[in-house]
């Protein structure tokens, strides 16, 4: 092969390398976090998790419940008895601490590889999503007025009481008042001035 051909080959190789590196520079960074995943689904899940996690909320997403005692988790917690529940944290010890649920539902996750699970307790339901063989808390939804938020708001509270407890830093659409803190959304549905639904939600791509 003459000199010109070598140069052409070099040029082609460089083009390929350039394409590989630039075409997914962002992904590359993310993919490194998911080296052990064997399919795109898991990889993308983990990538997304890492990508959206900023310095503050990293603590929240990575913390297990036992870690919660040691680390400050950014987000709205829900307290039930002695159990403090943070969104987007490992569910295992919370589930254990809450005891036997009244009902339990599981189904193959539509967004992640594994099972979505719903645990029903007196007054609320707790949902989890799977991630790397573990379950993380995706939401807590109030079922009746026997439970209340840490700030004392329950189903049947008024809009004024909610505003007094949480202030005016919310977004509102069609009667849904959404407070965001870290990786958590706290949603209040207000109908005729009365709160009719309360849900804590983890902010994770693909969760509904």
């Amino acid at each position: 092969m003459n000199k010109m051909n070598y140069q052409l080959l070099k040029f082609l190789m460089l083009c390929m390398l350039f394409l590989l590196l630039t075409g997914c520079g962002k992904k590359e960074e993310k993919d490194d976090t998911a080296k052990n995943n064997t399919n795109v689904e898991e990889a993308a899940d983990n990538n997304q998790k890492n990508e959206e996690t900023d310095k503050e909320t990293e603590a929240a997403s990575d913390a297990s419940v036992s870690d919660n005692e040691e680390q400050e988790v950014v987000g709205y917690p829900f307290e039930f008895g002695d159990v403090t529940i943070h969104m987007n944290t490992n569910a295992a010890s919370v589930i254990e601490a809450l005891g036997e649920p009244v009902e339990y539902f599981e189904a193959e996750s539509c967004a992640f590889k594994g099972l979505d699970k719903i645990y029903y307790y007196n007054g609320f339901e707790l949902s989890t999503y799977p991630m790397e063989s573990e379950d993380f808390i995706s939401s807590v939804n109030f079922l009746d007025d026997s439970v209340s938020t840490t700030e004392g708001i329950y189903l049947g509270s008024t809009l004024e009481e909610m505003l007094a407890a949480y202030g005016n830093d919310y977004t509102q659409e069609m009667g849904m008042y959404i407070y965001t803190l870290g990786e958590t959304e706290l949603n209040f549905l207000v109908e005729d001035g009365v709160i009719t639904a309360i849900t804590y939600l983890a902010i994770v791509e693909g969760l509904e």
Partner: protein
């Protein structure tokens, strides 16, 4: 001079071939798990003569058996379904399908109306990576991309998957050039049983209206079918979860009425169909198992046959020969699944492992 040109062409060709091979190698094969990743791609090997095309999410590819439709009514059909298929993906898959064939009816499962925006890259990939390069694919990708996604990674997937180089397994080499067929005209079979114990109620929503984007694509789908003289049938498949709100149902009833379409909510007819949710689902109500899918398909088949007058092709020797092969594959897979259930207690080769492991906890 000619020699130089030939060498240059050879070098370029070689580079392209290597790149293409690497791309094939790095792409996930979906053979041992996440079988639904192959559904879109499998269609291209099909003899494309179908009277009915089903489009939609898992509520079609798990709940409808084209083999039953053939065996009981002689109706030829194919499911162009995929996991969490969003309505714009359904539309572009339909548009692409019409370049290959012109069915008499298109059946669209309306659950995806609830998604007004792209949801997740992983699910985009399961639908879009399998599409052949076409105008429809590019449009589908553009409509589906999340904010941080790039069109070029769908056109040249090596840009997305090259980081799998250190995860490559025997499966990636084994299925580099040829994959096993996993579906039965787009139907993913599961014979195991996991009864419905709890049906989660839907949470209260602030707004039950389907989004403008969803309606826009439903309008496009309606228009496309009308232009091609194809009957568009809207269905809500009889899966009990995710929750299907009354308010959503009402919108579909109204849409069908306004556009002179048929809409059938089969959830309301589950009892008449004979679905027993303690036996006919493999995952607690999301998807029907083989027994449930055959019951549902038989019921729907009678509607397609009697009300839409779709022809019975069972006397057509050429088609019969094609479908006889499909029937053999169908029953051999059923037999294989039964033997796996007996041997392992779960469907080891059919994506049931994770669930079973969870159950053991």
């Amino acid at each position: 001079m000619i020699r130089k040109i030939l060498i240059n062409i050879s070098v370029i060709t070689l580079a392209i071939i290597i790149l293409a091979l690497l791309q094939e190698l790095f792409m996930p094969k979906y053979m041992s798990s996440i079988h639904e990743g192959n559904l879109v791609e499998e269609y291209y090997d099909e003899v494309k003569e179908h009277d009915v095309i089903f489009i939609g999410d898992c509520e079609v590819f798990s709940n409808v058996s084209p083999i039953t439709l053939w065996e009981n009514y002689g109706i030829t059909s194919y499911i162009r379904g995929s996991a969490q298929q969003l309505i714009w993906q359904s539309y572009y898959l339909l548009e692409e399908t019409l370049n290959y064939e012109k069915p008499k009816a298109v059946v669209f499962n309306v659950l995806s109306m609830k998604y007004n925006e792209p949801q997740k890259e992983a699910y985009n990939r399961l639908t879009l990576d399998g599409m052949k390069l076409s105008k429809s694919k590019i449009s589908a990708v553009k409509a589906s991309m999340m904010e941080d996604e790039q069109l070029i990674t769908y056109l040249f997937p090596i840009l997305r998957y090259h980081s799998r180089w250190n995860e490559l397994s025997g499966e990636d080499f084994k299925y580099l050039f040829d994959k096993d067929k996993l579906s039965h005209n787009g139907y993913l079979m599961r014979i195991d049983v996991k009864p419905v114990n709890v049906i989660p109620k839907g949470r209260k929503l602030a707004d039950y209206s389907f989004g403008d984007n969803s309606y826009d694509y439903l309008d496009k789908m309606t228009k496309l079918c009308k232009e091609n003289d194809i009957e568009l049938i809207l269905i809500k498949s009889p899966s009990v979860y995710p929750y299907w709100y009354e308010e959503w149902d009402e919108q579909m009833v109204n849409y069908a009425k306004e556009n002179n379409l048929t809409y059938i909510n089969f959830l309301d007819e589950a009892e008449e169909i004979g679905i027993d949710y303690s036996k006919d689902t493999y995952d607690g109500g999301l998807h029907l198992n083989l027994s449930g899918a055959e019951k549902f398909t038989d019921y729907f088949g009678s509607i397609l046959s009697n009300e839409f007058h779709l022809p019975d092709h069972r006397e057509d020797a050429r088609l019969k020969e094609i479908w006889d092969k499909k029937i053999t594959f169908y029953y051999s897979m059923e037999e294989h699944q039964r033997s796996e259930l007996e041997k392992y207690g779960y469907l080891k080769s059919y994506g049931a492992q994770a669930q079973e492991k969870e159950d053991e906890r």
